[in-house]
Symmetry: C2
Subunit: 336 residues, 2 copies
Amino acid sequence: MTVALDGYGAEQGFDVLAEGAKLAAADGIAVRVFGPEQALGLNRVEGVEVVPTTEWIGNDEDPVAAVRAKKEASVVRAAREVAEGRAEAMVSPGSTGATMAAATFGLRRLKGVQRPALAVQVPVPGKPVLLLDVGANVEVRAQHLVQFAFLGAAFSAAVLDVDRPTVGLLTVGEESGKGRDEVVEAHRLLSAAEGIEFAGNVEGRDLPAAKVDVVVTDGFTGNVALKLLEGTARAVATAVGDAARSNPIASLGGLLLKPALGSLRRELHPDTTGGAILLGLRGVAVVGHGSSGAEGIANAVRLAARCAEVDAVGRTAALLLEGDAGRGALAAEDGA
Amino acid sequence: MTVALDGYGAEQGFDVLAEGAKLAAADGIAVRVFGPEQALGLNRVEGVEVVPTTEWIGNDEDPVAAVRAKKEASVVRAAREVAEGRAEAMVSPGSTGATMAAATFGLRRLKGVQRPALAVQVPVPGKPVLLLDVGANVEVRAQHLVQFAFLGAAFSAAVLDVDRPTVGLLTVGEESGKGRDEVVEAHRLLSAAEGIEFAGNVEGRDLPAAKVDVVVTDGFTGNVALKLLEGTARAVATAVGDAARSNPIASLGGLLLKPALGSLRRELHPDTTGGAILLGLRGVAVVGHGSSGAEGIANAVRLAARCAEVDAVGRTAALLLEGDAGRGALAAEDGA
């Protein structure tokens, strides 16, 4: 099991990325890093191999143009590594746009899938919720939302071991007529669809309450929602910490409570999920959280390896084609 | 100072609404309740007057059609009370759509304002942030977002006493080209506008971090964001509480910490802000939080009274027309 890792783009710098690669390698995952000269020292680490790479794509570049122009950029090479069968999955902690472009061009879409979507296991208390799209498509049509529902459900069943995952459509009210035109239409299509446990509309509050296993939305709303959820959890946790430092009695209380809060802290930390996965492609591509620490990088590599191990792509494709409705939803899109 | 209160639609029932009316009346606000027969007992309370009303509009009705058809519905009568000068402000804890329709038809829009927007002070740790639109317009054009920016800034200065409020545009990245077409265009227009402290794009995480005073978005994203933020704060607070009950030592810690958490709990409780205000009209209309308790109802009435007291409508209109840019933004819309 080999994971191709883009060695550029970790906001916390290369040393943190290297630390993450080491952690993942210690779990028995072969990590091939497309990174700078300074990375060569990593070759001494068991399970890590460095491919010196001098070109990369920055956050400020136009992703599609940059991926087309820079054939030797680290993220493009990582995608090619998977496309040509030398690695089972790719991971990049760099520009989300460049990673999506490199993966989409390099790995190509599953048959019938028109728009790949970025999915992430949202860190909420209790069980995680799979949210998609979190940024691949800022505008969508109803048919895309239907595809996201099938992609998310298939991934949830295949990789996250959720039995008959329930899927909710994110909008502004529970009633079927609530929301933008494409959302109302997607609700109608999903209500009639077979092969999916459509739970109807869900609202913003239902996401942290983990009311359903998979929440489907467009990439604009999903991106705002993901960052808002992470930011709110952090802000509340910080405010609780501040309260626990506000006077000596509260301090003692905080100290006694701290061990019990440890698992909640891990549950809510963005590093825990490791990143977002691009669904709908013929290969595994994981976009790491930009601000990931070493544990976050390692978890992104672990998530990619797990997806490859369980044949997430093949099983997602099979589940997509299984139900009549799934076939119908995808076939309709083919002609669009 | 008289506030017209729609006596129907409080999810927790009429008794909770009556309790809220009493609390507000105790502050010296005259509350005129358009409510059911059972409300008549309230007439004994100093400052509360009941106008028996038998018709109302439910959450399941089409708001615009219902407001047009039911001239004697409680929310329509409350709006008429303000339009005809017998009350200074209206409050409804019922259907948001019906309240918006009743207020928009009854109170009419300020000159130049094409789309009124629902604004709410979002409960985040530290200072509140004004978020709009949280549900009046699920689809917007760039020009609407520009208007929301001016409306929100004017309200923030006039009612919330924020000196030169900063305004951020909610989207998927900091760079000016990030987001949907209308957001990119609104960014361009606001960057060139005068008379407003435009702080550029903000992301989901910047809302709970209170990076700016006013956050502008469309009513779909804003509605999802508001409910998500409230839900996440509640979920994290619940999880902290659960941790504090998980073992005896943690229990003691929770007990010692509890007093210090009191103000945070109040800050984050949706009842604290009282509800959303419909900006851009010639009168004050507040939409209460559907699930409000008595304190939430009272705070909605207090918010409405405060808006009327400080002449929020007149000052917002004046601030809107003050800057050349504000005039330009509104004038452009007039011709659209």
